[in-house]
């Protein structure tokens, strides 16, 4: 299976939410209905930036039952490869774009008696859709949302107004921290915890929950990595008999696709495992950045996740 089915959309609204975050609304180009989805799903947005095609995943934050529109939020990353800058500076209302069908790798566990959401920064977006979904079915949830300062806590006011007893905001610059110990120890049996935010936060909450004896099945998290820029390198694709050059701002997966070679993917963020590729031969070092391969696999030199990982060296031959 190669990626997922595409949808042609137009940008129907752009809203600057704060210094870092801008919100984009998409509608179907032909005016038809978009597919329903489940809270936590993402869509892959295709960005044609000059001759470069980037495909970045963004959580859908709009109501899963609203088939008229999807909304996403994009956080500007000045050090990134340019995907978020492209969205912030080049995309205009009325532009035609291509997005993928929704894919959910961060689904609610519908068996949970209670859903406890822990969000950091832009990690709030999947929870916005999940909250809307749970509100429809009278679900039991609670959100703890941490951001750097009030001016960046974009969705706080709206959430507090609607759900004053279910939402707790925290601001780093005001020295406010989630009191994890009391939070985790006070939860009813059957609670599931969901974490989305920076890696440090995910690791911290997972560790604390595990130490408290929470079962693994009740701890859910999602961290999509953006591919990082790096030194250009060359790779040979053995099966398709092609040599590709991976540019500084390009991911290995994007370079494979640009060469016309089909490669499977779902998340493009190092999490889902779909794009796992075998290495036939190499002379150099891998820069593994994914969450998929085990440490042993990473040191074995036999596998690479081309969506986020890179290579530096003389020779790389891939089974693709």
């Amino acid at each position: 299976m190669i990626g997922s089915t595409k949808i042609n959309v137009i940008v129907s609204q752009i809203k600057v939410l704060n210094d870092l975050v801008t919100c984009f609304e998409f509608k179907r180009t032909n005016g038809g209905l978009l597919p329903t989805f489940s809270g936590g799903a993402h869509t892959i947005v295709e960005m044609q930036d000059g001759s470069v095609l980037r495909l970045n995943p963004y959580s859908i934050m709009s109501d899963p039952f609203d088939q008229a529109r999807y909304t996403i939020s994009v956080r500007r990353d000045d050090q990134g490869r340019g995907g978020s800058l492209f969205m912030h500076t080049k995309v205009k209302v009325g532009d035609e774009m291509v997005i993928s069908y929704p894919v959910n790798l961060f689904s609610l566990d519908l068996r949970a008696r209670k859903h406890l959401f822990i969000a950091g920064g832009i990690g709030i977006t999947p929870f916005l859709a999940q909250i809307k979904q749970l509100e429809r079915s009278n679900g039991y949830w609670e959100l703890h949302y941490s951001t750097r300062r009030p001016s960046l806590g974009t969705f706080v006011d709206e959430l507090l107004k609607k759900y004053p007893h279910k939402v707790s905001p925290y601001y780093d610059e005001c020295d406010q921290r989630i009191e994890l110990t009391s939070l985790l120890s006070g939860q009813p049996l059957g609670t599931h915890i969901y974490i989305c935010g920076p890696k440090g936060m995910i690791d911290w909450v997972r560790q604390e929950a595990t130490d408290f004896g929470w079962p693994d099945e009740a701890i859910h998290f999602e961290e999509f990595l953006a591919p990082l820029p790096g030194k250009p390198f060359q790779a040979k694709l053995e099966i398709s008999d092609k040599v590709i050059n991976v540019g500084e701002l390009q991911s290995l997966l994007e370079a494979v696709e640009l060469a016309g070679v089909e490669a499977p993917y779902l998340c493009r963020g190092g999490a889902c495992g779909q794009c796992e590729t075998s290495v036939i031969e190499y002379d150099g070092k891998f820069i593994h950045r994914d969450h998929w391969l085990t440490d042993d696999e990473k040191t074995s030199g036999l596998k690479i996740m081309p969506c986020v990982s890179r290579f530096e060296g003389k020779k790389l031959v891939l089974d693709r």
């Binding site: 597919p35 936590g40 069908y101 689904s107």
Partner: protein, 346 residues
């Protein structure tokens, strides 16, 4: 209506028959002269006109009688239909998928009228005209999964997806090849496949699960599976083995052409959007040997497949004792000529 529905039975007198049209479109499952397990998945995005692959949910001449047989099974044994409490949303997903698909694919047979959450469903072959409120269970005579699968051919397993595994957490199973929903409910993918011989060692299930977990909205998949059944029985369940198991002993060289059936399952897989569950419809098609050998290529090939099938598989599929008699019947139709590639008749 474009389809002439048979009035036939899958029990008692066994009046089930296949028309010439049904024989021609039968999903013969062997693309070569031998068989071994394979994940053998392909996209379920239509197929040749008139084939069973053309529509998302194939409706054929057996529809009305199959639904009556399902009703009989459920009356005797309501546990053939079960749904764990967290699977209600997935049931609505399935109802929506089937109603939308059938109304689009068979507009002369089914209609769906939607005004917000107020829906009206018209099923002409079964004379049903039901108005209800989407997502309000109290407005339907059954839960959403049971309601729609009482009107759709094939068994349905709804698999919850969590912890990188699939869980058999809901289903409607009345036409199964000797497995039990009541036994498997709540099991994960590896648990419910535990009895299958050889495939575990071959790593089949790890690959199959990886594929299934990655099936997404808009890209349904399908494969075929098969076994052999004596008499056109839809309900070959473990619960009723005492009724149908003994029938395997009634085969004679004289009646085998009419009584021995090749049973083929069209298995499809759809991601359900609102629940993120996966639905796994298993649609059963039956053809007896007499009808099957009317296609010379199928006759030659079935003879070779049955002859060369490993003992473990023939045992698992439940026809090891009858294999010699089946081969005696098929052998005269196999002149040793080569067969062409693919499943379609020459």
């Amino acid at each position: 209506m474009t389809i002439q529905f048979n009035d036939e039975s899958f029990r008692g007198e066994y009046t089930f028959t296949n028309s010439d049209h049904a024989i021609k479109r039968f999903p013969f499952p062997f693309h070569e002269d031998s068989y071994m397990y394979a994940v053998n998945m392909e996209q379920h995005q239509g197929g040749p006109e008139g084939s069973i692959y053309e529509k998302r949910f194939d409706v054929d001449e057996h529809y009305v009688s199959e639904m009556y047989d399902r009703k009989l099974v459920l009356t005797e044994d309501p546990l053939r239909c079960q749904s764990l409490p967290h699977m209600v949303m997935a049931g609505w997903d399935l109802l929506e998928l089937i109603m939308v698909s059938k109304a689009e694919d068979y507009p002369d047979l089914f209609e769906l009228h939607r005004d917000g959450a107020n829906w009206r469903w018209v099923n002409k072959p079964l004379s049903i005209d039901q108005s209800f409120v989407f997502l309000d269970e109290t407005t339907l005579p059954y839960g959403p999964m049971e309601y729609i699968t009482r009107q759709t051919q094939g068994d349905f397993c709804i698999l919850d997806q969590r912890n990188d595994n699939l869980w058999m957490d809901a289903g409607m199973v009345t036409t199964q090849a000797d497995w039990s929903l009541d036994f498997d409910i709540g099991m994960n993918f590896f648990e419910w496949h535990a009895p299958v011989p050889k495939a575990h060692e071959m790593g089949i299930f790890i690959r199959a699960l990886k594929f299934l977990l990655s099936i997404q909205q808009g890209t349904p998949a399908r494969r075929l599976n098969w076994t052999m059944t004596v008499n056109p029985l839809l309900d070959t369940s473990p619960e009723n083995y005492h009724k149908w198991g003994v029938q395997k002993r009634t085969l004679t060289p004289e009646n085998i052409g009419q009584k021995q059936y090749l049973r083929v399952e069209l298995q499809t897989f759809f991601r359900l959007p609102r629940s993120n569950a996966l639905v796994f419809p298993i649609r059963c098609y039956l053809i007896n040997l007499e009808d099957l050998v009317s296609v010379p290529k199928w006759a030659r090939r079935l003879h070779r497949v049955i002859r060369d099938l490993p003992i473990e598989l023939a045992t698992y599929k439940g026809f090891i004792d009858n294999r010699p008699m089946i081969l005696d019947y098929l052998a005269p139709f196999d002149d040793g000529q080569p067969t062409s590639d693919g499943v379609w008749p020459d």
